[in-house]
Symmetry: C2
């Protein structure tokens, strides 16, 4: 029996989910759901239909799990609780400070209707979170470091694009190599924000714009850039398209800690991702958790969950025997 | 309420577990259990008592979980099913080919008595297995590589010690750097056994022994060394003690796979361990799974499990709210 999947939202992430669902042997894509006019949405996959989001209300029986591909700032806080009342749902909610509120809202809607929701499925939050937790379970007094990059930060790129005189921009978050080396060596350094990452900005300016002012505005932008060593490089629109059109990302979670009667033994655990496409990888993680979500609902496990609550075996289509045989 | 832990078996691994249990805020060590005369067992921890294994039968009510620290060849296949009838149990069973049989035996004993058992908890099998599975869930068509080392293989060291004229020996498994680099670059190479690892042997020979014969016997030993490029270095007993007394180990699980309409995006996931003490790290993993085992039993989840069946949140003492706050 295939798992019937709906995708709500069809930006980069929705397209990433579409690819992952189509690659899954045990899934069928019921449809793409969008708040735009579905006729204007060019669905990539063959034989896949786009519907208006409003039509979801009449398709409750046709969808086992709905993967919600929206932004964490305004979309998901509304959409995930709303749809959790009618569907098993998955999202990639990543606004850390608002997790308790989002969790509570989704939990209430899902529990009241016998549905299962898994929030914050991606790589951070998601796989990185899992590795922070697993490593803490093993080395409870260890130090945890998360490095991001080298990769494109879409939030920071957007922030630059909002500056007057900027036509387009791409921002790369880059981990500081010396800091990485020290952490990997188990040296347990104390690192400031500036010592962990640098920010590289590639900016296409409007003709005649004041480049010095733009550079200054970027480098002093509170929260986004002021605490970092930032470089700004002005490039042509052609160069941006040619060399910076991808959405690579990645990073490392590194935990170091000690054991021994006198803490004489150091251990370093590193989980490292090198991703050519952030949205396609995130979409693949969402899809794996969608499978687990359906299974947990079938087992009567309702309410809001996170990847911390999901037994790993639920993520793959293989049987428990096959899983033990091939992966143990 | 503390979790009361018993440790059965007190070699390197048992001592590693002892340290981890004593470092756990929510655990109390009920005792060390041994098949030797407990008077002859020098327990490392303060205030910890050693008992004969036979006394376990009278302590069923005093122990929430029994961590069984025995060898996979002959100890665990007998001990884990035996004690799973009376206790929640954990082991680090690592004989891959015999997992189905061991699982079935343990499952039968545990289920019949309402107990929970988790087998194969360590780093391989264990954390490496989890990373093979998680990565497969995300990149189902990806290629999985496991590299071990640089680290001491106790099985291979023992095999050398059984050769006539060998007084002591230490064998290091070393990953081949070129192979690692190629895999990390997502090149997806096809690698023979010889291309993945080399073996370095440090041997203390008996006085007057035929060194050339010993070296030849090592290098041609079937399964252990014949498929590898092996180096043999004869050293003094003092040098072995001074430079090779530790039990470091580690390695990497690396999975690379593609996404995209034309598989144009490559992703590389690496989980890497660098461990100063293999038994202390393994002991820490066993201890985390012991916590999960007790909780799963309290939830009515009986029978034999592996790390694949354990939701990560069960491994740490923190509440679900704290876990989401600190690790998500």
């Amino acid at each position: 029996m295939s798992i019937h999947v709906g995708i709500l939202g069809y930006g980069n992430l929705g397209r990433g989910v579409e690819l992952a669902v189509q690659a899954a042997e045990d899934m069928e894509l019921t449809g793409i759901f969008t708040r735009r006019d579905p006729k204007t949405v060019p669905v990539a996959g063959k034989g896949v239909s786009a519907y208006h989001a409003d039509s979801l209300s009449s398709m409750k029986d046709k969808i086992d799990v709905l993967i919600i591909c929206g932004g964490s700032a305004t979309d998901l806080p509304v959409m995930t609780p709303k749809y959790a009342a009618d569907f098993n749902v998955i999202d990639s909610f990543d606004t850390h400070a608002r997790v308790p509120e989002h969790f509570a809202n989704v939990d209430k809607a899902a529990k009241a209707n016998g549905k299962t929701a898994i929030i914050s499925c991606g790589w951070d939050p998601g796989m990185f979170s899992l590795n922070r937790l697993y490593s803490h379970a093993i080395l409870p007094a260890g130090s945890t470091y998360t490095f991001w990059g080298r990769g494109v930060s879409q939030g920071h790129s957007d922030a630059i694009r909002r500056i007057e005189g900027v036509k387009d921009a791409r921002q790369y978050t880059v981990p500081v190599e010396d800091a990485l080396c020290s952490v990997r060596a188990g040296e347990n350094p104390v690192l400031t924000t500036r010592q962990k990452h640098t920010r590289e900005c590639f900016v296409v300016a409007e003709e005649g714009a004041d480049l010095a002012r733009i550079e200054q505005e970027i480098k002093t932008m509170p929260n986004y850039f002021d605490e970092y060593d930032t470089t700004v490089t002005f490039i042509s629109e052609e160069e941006l398209k040619k060399n910076h059109s991808g959405l690579p990302h990645g990073g490392s979670v590194i935990v170091s800690g000690t054991t021994g009667a006198e803490n004489e033994h150091t251990h370093v655990i590193e989980y490292k991702l090198t991703l050519d496409s952030n949205p396609e990888f995130t979409g693949a993680v969402l899809t794996a958790y969608a499978r687990a979500c359906v299974r947990m609902n079938q087992d009567g496990c309702c309410g809001c969950k996170t990847p911390f609550d999901v037994a790993p075996a639920l993520l793959v289509p293989e049987s428990p025997e096959e899983v033990r045989k091939h992966f143990l």
